[in-house]
């Protein structure tokens, strides 16, 4: 048991931080955001630096890192509010690496690692439920239907689509940049590129069954939770800096006890959320995290992102709301991540579903 970052993880954290701070000014984020597209230049750079292959095996051009390492990477990137499908890509790539047939994996993973392809999950349908979806793959190996809320669905080259064949649920790889796949953008609070995707006879390769699907959903939840933690931490740090500097009534407002206590609460929630998410992610990597543990982590992280970022706004006053300032990136992306892959309410429901089961408290 050791909650501290490993040497490798510290290296990832430091070098990504140094990279985004020197190369990605927030003005760039504003530009990309208003374009409605992803940050394609950054994506290329991440590929060149080898980050896209972090959790992939060396044989696929990766660095053989663990999922927790990927979590550290995603946290560091999210703390700069970058608009790239790094979480989506890790979800898809890790699922393919573990659950796809060898040839399918060998075919696509090197392209994901070098950034020439981008794969993202496409799970939800109109019902917004991870339990109910209905697209059937036809006898001709194509699928037809609509997927909702596909993050970076319009930017990806491949979709990992939840569908059924002969009633058997599974995941299917679909080439997205073909006439059989059309996307229509939807606007969300996080200003993350997101689409409704319509498949009309799109060719689909079966990747895995229920097991792989569950792995994917668990990982999706946890990487959304990592983003919640990242936004909370960033908002907390910005707030601590701000209240230490902002003077009212002749003293920094950070000397007022009420302000200090708000910050203390924000720090407590953020620290606990970080632990819960990383522990669950680390266990998920080893196939040991059950749905309840993942749901506990996502519930807590989602609530923390909501509460901490909005308290950050309260303590920043007007300045925090101005789009020229950077706080809003984290409050809005934080809430978006909180709602993604199961909101706190949905995940709380999952925890309650298994409430009778005894817990290990050590």
């Amino acid at each position: 048991m050791d909650v501290s970052l490993s040497e490798t993880q510290r290296l990832i954290q430091d070098s990504v931080k140094a990279f985004v701070e020197s190369e990605i000014p927030f003005s760039r984020i504003r530009e990309v955001e208003s374009s409605g597209d992803m940050d394609r230049k950054l994506w290329k750079e991440l590929a060149e630096l080898g980050w896209l292959g972090l959790p992939l095996a060396e044989e696929h051009g990766g660095q053989a890192g663990g999922l927790a390492d990927a979590g550290v990477l995603i946290e560091a990137l999210t703390r700069r509010a970058v608009l790239v499908p790094i979480a989506e890509s890790v979800v898809a790539a890790a699922t393919l690496q573990r659950h796809a047939p060898t040839d399918v994996a060998a075919d696509i993973l090197p392209d994901l690692a070098n950034g020439t392809s981008i794969a993202v999950p496409a799970v939800l349908e109109q019902e917004d439920s991870f339990k109910t979806w209905s697209i059937e793959v036809g006898a001709d190996g194509t699928l037809t239907g609509k997927k909702y809320f596909v993050d970076y669905g319009g930017q990806a080259t491949h979709h990992l689509v939840a569908a059924r064949s002969d009633g058997e649920p599974g995941l299917y790889l679909v080439q997205a940049q073909t006439p059989a796949v059309t996307t229509s953008a939807v606007q969300n609070i996080g200003k993350v590129p997101q689409a409704i995707v319509t498949y009309e006879g799109a060719a689909a390769t079966r990747v895995c069954g229920q097991d792989g699907y569950e792995f994917l959903v668990g990982l999706g939840r946890l990487l959304a939770a990592i983003q919640c933690v990242a936004c909370s931490q960033q908002a907390l740090d910005m707030t601590v800096d701000y209240v230490a500097m902002r003077v009212q009534f002749g003293q920094p407002i950070g000397t007022f006890q009420a302000v200090q206590h708000h910050c203390a609460n924000m720090a407590t929630h953020t620290l606990a959320s970080r632990y819960l998410v990383f522990e669950a992610l680390w266990r998920h990597d080893r196939g040991e995290a059950d749905d309840t543990q993942i749901a506990v982590a996502k519930t807590q992280a989602s609530r923390t992102a909501t509460e901490v970022t909005m308290m950050a706004h309260q303590l920043h006053g007007g300045m925090g709301l101005v789009t020229e300032y950077d706080l809003h990136f984290f409050s809005l992306r934080g809430k978006q991540a909180a709602l993604s892959w199961g909101s706190s309410e949905e995940c709380l429901g999952l925890v309650s579903d298994t409430i009778e089961e005894p817990e290990q408290w050590l």
Binding site: D128, Q187, G317, V322, T323, S331, K335, L339, S340, S343
Partner: protein, 383 residues
């Protein structure tokens, strides 16, 4: 104790509802902001025609002389319907003018305010004077028959669409903080003023206003020189009768509930979701309770001590809590922005209110300061 609304209040409420429904239909039919602005203008005119804008003003000020509860129910119904009216100009500036303006000033501004031709932006906050408003540094210096203004204001919402500015400036820099401040009215097209937009994440534009040797006539001063702090503090009571009406949040709750009933039959049957809604309902009843207690004190011609602060705190925190919980209950749909027609529940009202919800937690006096006020003025705790 008497918890019944008088018949005349209920009759007035009925009239208000008919009125609001009619204009809500017009609002929905409007195609763009310009169209909506036209409707608001019509609402304003019609309200003035009916005497509603001044319904609770004393008769000697040309008001309707009605009980503050008239004001209360009116704010409630307009807020529920989501129709703005009168705003700060009618609600704050006019009463301040009535209390502190000269006859000439009243004659010059009141008719225009009531017609809607004169609208005000409020120039209080400065970069270093937010919660600590008394630290404001914008200077007004007497020069012959004129005042010369230099300095900067911030969070001057609607400065870009208003005709006038209601300005707090320092006239005696040697006096202690709260003293030495005076109030002025400026036309927004006075030379030397620059308005710079600030865009916020709530989607609302606000502004900075810069003053460079802005010269205004001597009679721009409202009330006594150097006593502006007290001019502002003494707004008429009947305007405080409904600082944080239940209406808008109640409507947001009702509409979200309606959506769940219609579109999410499985979810609305779930006890977990039902209990969340029940929690919010209770919280709304608390807000309603605080509002009524506050209004009832004013209606009895007494002065609320802590009740207004309680209402303000509860309202602003519930605004966040309710929007956030509704979004959580709606899941991915809850995160959609209102510009996605068709797919977005209740026109994205929850998402939009969520983005705007921080404002009231610090605006109008931070919730921290409000809690200090409750402790000091309400409970008598030592400073």
């Amino acid at each position: 104790m008497d918890y019944e609304w008088d018949d005349d209040i209920l009759a007035f409420q009925k009239e208000l509802r008919t009125f609001c429904e009619e204009f809500s239909t017009d609002l929905r039919a409007a195609e763009d902001q310009a169209g909506r602005d036209l409707v608001f203008k019509k609402v304003h005119g019609e309200m003035e025609r009916r005497g509603w804008l001044r319904i609770a003003w004393p008769e000697e000020y040309g008001g309707g002389g009605k009980s503050p509860f008239y004001q209360f129910v009116m704010v409630q119904e307009f807020s529920y319907a989501g129709i703005p009216y009168g705003g700060l100009s009618v609600g704050s500036i006019a009463p301040a003018l009535l209390n502190h303006g000269t006859d000439e000033q009243k004659q010059k501004f009141l008719p225009g305010i009531l017609d809607g031709d004169i609208t005000f932006a409020i120039g209080y906050s400065e970069p270093n004077a937010g919660t600590d408003l008394a630290a404001l540094q914008t200077r007004a210096v007497k020069d012959g028959d004129e005042w010369v203004i230099n300095g900067q204001k911030i969070w001057t919402s609607e400065a870009h669409v208003s005709t006038h500015l209601w300005l707090a400036a320092r006239t005696d820099p040697t006096a202690a903080k709260h003293r030495g401040i005076s109030m002025f009215i400026l036309s927004m097209d006075t030379p030397g003023m620059t308005v710079r937009p600030l865009y916020t994440m709530s989607g609302v534009r606000t502004n900075e206003v810069f003053f460079e040797d802005v010269r205004i006539p001597a009679d721009s001063l409202i009330g006594e020189q150097d006593k502006g702090w007290y001019t502002v503090a003494n707004a008429l009571d009947f305007e405080r009768v409904s600082l944080a009406p239940t209406g808008q949040l109640a409507r947001q709750f009702d509409r979200t509930l309606e959506y769940l009933k219609e579109e999410r039959t499985e979810q609305i049957a779930d006890k977990g979701t039902r209990q969340r809604l029940a929690e919010l309902k209770i919280d709304l009843h608390v807000l309603r309770a605080l509002n009524i207690v506050n209004a009832s004190i004013i209606a009895n011609r007494e002065t609320p001590t802590m009740e207004a602060s309680m209402t303000k705190i509860w309202s602003s925190e519930l605004r966040y809590r309710l929007s956030s919980m509704n979004m959580d209950l709606l899941g991915r749909y809850g995160g959609l922005r209102s510009d996605d027609e068709g797919l977005t529940p209740v026109d994205g009202q929850n998402e939009q209110t969520y983005r705007g919800s921080p404002i009231l937690r610090f605006g109008g006096g931070t919730n921290e300061v409000q809690r200090n006020i409750i402790a000091h003025r309400g409970l008598g705790l030592p400073r």
